[in-house]
């Protein structure tokens, strides 16, 4: 781990200050008549965990494959670490670690041997990072076992270790939580946060698991039908545009009667012992509190309603389906 941290601290500046980690402009990928990625534009800033969220078949993996030069785009531009791809793909990929779909290994070789092979392809300078990478993902004790005996979670972690061999500024992880049990998910989530928070790397994580993106990422884009339908910080994405407020007090019925017909309140309902209301303006929350307190009610909770990313995702994709 020491080696990895030290090399991050000494990060070469050559590619470091050339722009966002990932920049995509009007990217399109067609398979015959079918459009898998449709005019996608997005920017991944450096030093964040960026979630690329969409259900299965939404176009996430296709876009990642285009981005990594595994297949050619039908139109648009992309760059990794400031370097245009596919034009400067080899130079960019030297500083990128990626897992597409699921990490694959030679099952008859040990974890250590598999990384030795990956290091040989990367270049001799990466060999010295093998032990550190295995330790980093918690596989140092099992590194001499054949990969055929590994669980899926262990293979996912070994995949991340293989990514770390290049001391990457950017990690692109396609569905890294797929097939993991809750403990495995927690391990991967912690590992990703440490890669971002402690080591300053950028992680681009595609997933259909909304909860995991919400818990792991700082920023996210939602893709549906090959198009990005929303992008922003997790806070922004789950924020309630309608200004919904949740209030809990000692007498919900009296509070309901008091606020019914209030000109500041557009909608009001009682739900699980609390009141949920939509206000005409978000800054009217203080006035609501004052009215309740003035009426002798004890307010124990008053906060903007926060929906989950899942609610938001479902709302957005449903809206699109209705529009279509």
């Amino acid at each position: 781990m020491e080696t990895t941290h030290a090399s991050q601290a000494d990060r070469r500046p050559a590619l470091g200050d050339l722009g966002p980690a990932v920049e995509i402009e009007e990217l399109t990928k067609r398979f015959g008549d079918r459009i898998a990625v449709d005019d996608v534009s997005l920017t991944v800033p450096r030093g964040v965990a960026y979630g690329f969220l969409g259900h299965n078949g939404a176009g996430k993996t296709t876009m990642i494959r285009v981005l990594l030069g595994l297949t050619r785009a039908s139109g648009g531009h992309a760059s990794l670490l400031g370097l245009p791809v596919p034009e400067q793909r080899a130079r960019a990929l030297a500083r990128v670690g990626a897992i597409v779909e699921e990490p694959s290994f030679y099952p008859h070789l040990t974890g250590h041997e598999n990384l030795k092979i990956a290091a040989a392809v990367r270049g001799p300078e990466t060999r010295q990072r093998i032990d550190g990478a295995l330790e980093r993902v918690g596989l140092d004790r099992r590194s001499r076992d054949r990969v055929g005996t590994y669980s899926l979670g262990m293979r996912q972690r070994l995949g991340v270790a293989r990514c770390l061999l290049s001391d990457p500024e950017l990690l692109i992880l396609d569905e890294p939580m797929n097939g993991l049990d809750p403990g495995g998910m927690l391990d991967v989530r912690r590992m990703i946060r440490a890669l971002v928070d402690d080591e300053g790397r950028t992680v681009f994580l595609s997933s259909h698991l909304l909860d995991e993106v919400e818990k792991t990422c700082d920023v996210a884009a939602i893709i549906d039908g090959g198009r990005v339908i929303a992008e922003g910080s997790i806070e922004e994405l789950v924020a309630d545009e309608a200004g919904e407020l949740v209030v809990e007090c000692d007498d919900a019925d009296r509070a309901l009667a008091l606020l019914a017909g209030d000109p500041a309140v557009r909608e009001l309902r009682a739900e699980h012992g609390a009141l949920r209301m939509k206000l005409l303006a978000r800054d009217q929350a203080g006035e609501i509190n004052s009215r309740l307190v003035a009426a002798g009610l004890v307010v124990s909770r008053l906060e903007p309603a926060r929906r989950s990313l899942e609610d938001r995702f479902l709302e957005m994709t449903t809206r699109l389906e209705v529009a279509a």
Binding site: R91, V100, E102, A119, V121, R127
Partner: protein
């Protein structure tokens, strides 16, 4: 990403590692060479032991000729095909090809590093089988004549050529098709069934010089056993060998460049 000598050496070493650790394949490749050798020699030993007046000792030149046929014409090429097919399509089968491509390393470099590794494994196994066969040739010769050192050295060179070429052809075909079973089936059927028949088809005349088997039989050092070779100028033999060495690997390399990872 430049490919320097150190990296090339490391990549070849990596391919060597994945091949030599494939224990099932190594065992099978050794078995296809050694089991027939042991059976044939063992049979001769038993016959000689049961009636030394009628049956000669199991070693000597006759045994040596059969050894060359076995390792250079029949089962040696089968072993070479097994190894070449694994080298050519093993990373595709395991899914590691995509991960290797994701390093940014050129696909041609990824392809080329397979060749010396596969040939090294093929030659190591052939050498082991040959050493055992030569030991039997001398150890069980009784009073029979044995091959001279020059014949042995010529044989080593011929076996190396025959099995290396087959290994590289299999590697090229496996890289082209992406299929190990398909490559093994096609090449073994060609080597053991179709090609020997075509070599014997006199109606094809000099066209048969284009067959790898014709060239290898022509180049085979004495003492000869098995089917006779087709006479041809050495230059033709060289051109045909180089042609076989280049065509399928070139197609395999092209497919590696264009294959959707």
């Amino acid at each position: 990403m430049k490919l320097d000598l150190i990296t090339a050496k490391e990549m070849i070493g990596a391919d060597l590692l994945r091949l030599r650790k494939k224990r099932g394949m190594i065992a099978l490749a050794l078995a296809v060479m050694l089991v027939p050798l042991v059976i044939m020699t063992g049979y001769d030993v038993v016959k000689h032991a049961s009636d030394p007046g009628q049956y000669p000792p199991a070693g000597g030149l006759n045994n040596y000729g059969r050894l060359l046929d076995l390792l250079g014409v029949f089962m040696g090429p089968v072993a070479a095909v097994l190894i070449g097919a694994e080298a050519g399509a093993g990373d595709l089968a395991a899914g590691v090809f995509r991960d290797n491509v994701l390093t940014g390393r050129s696909r041609l470099a990824l392809f080329l590093s397979r060749i010396p590794a596969a040939v090294a494994v093929t030659l190591s196994l052939t050498a082991l089988a040959f050493a055992i066969g030569v030991a039997a040739t001398f150890g069980l010769a009784g009073g029979l004549a044995t091959p001279s050192l020059s014949v042995i050295l010529e044989s080593v060179a011929w076996l190396a050529l025959a099995n290396s070429v087959l290994c590289v052809i299999a590697l090229g075909l496996a890289s082209l098709t992406g299929s190990r079973p398909g490559t093994i089936t096609a090449l073994i059927a060609w080597e053991l069934v179709l090609s020997p028949l075509v070599v014997q088809a006199t109606s094809l005349g000099t066209l048969r010089r284009g067959l790898l088997d014709s060239v290898l039989l022509f180049l085979k050092p004495g003492p000869l056993t098995g089917p006779p070779g087709i006479p041809m100028p050495v230059a033709v033999a060289v051109v045909v060998t180089i042609g076989w060495l280049l065509v399928l690997p070139a197609l395999g390399a092209w497919r590696m460049q264009t294959r959707d990872a």
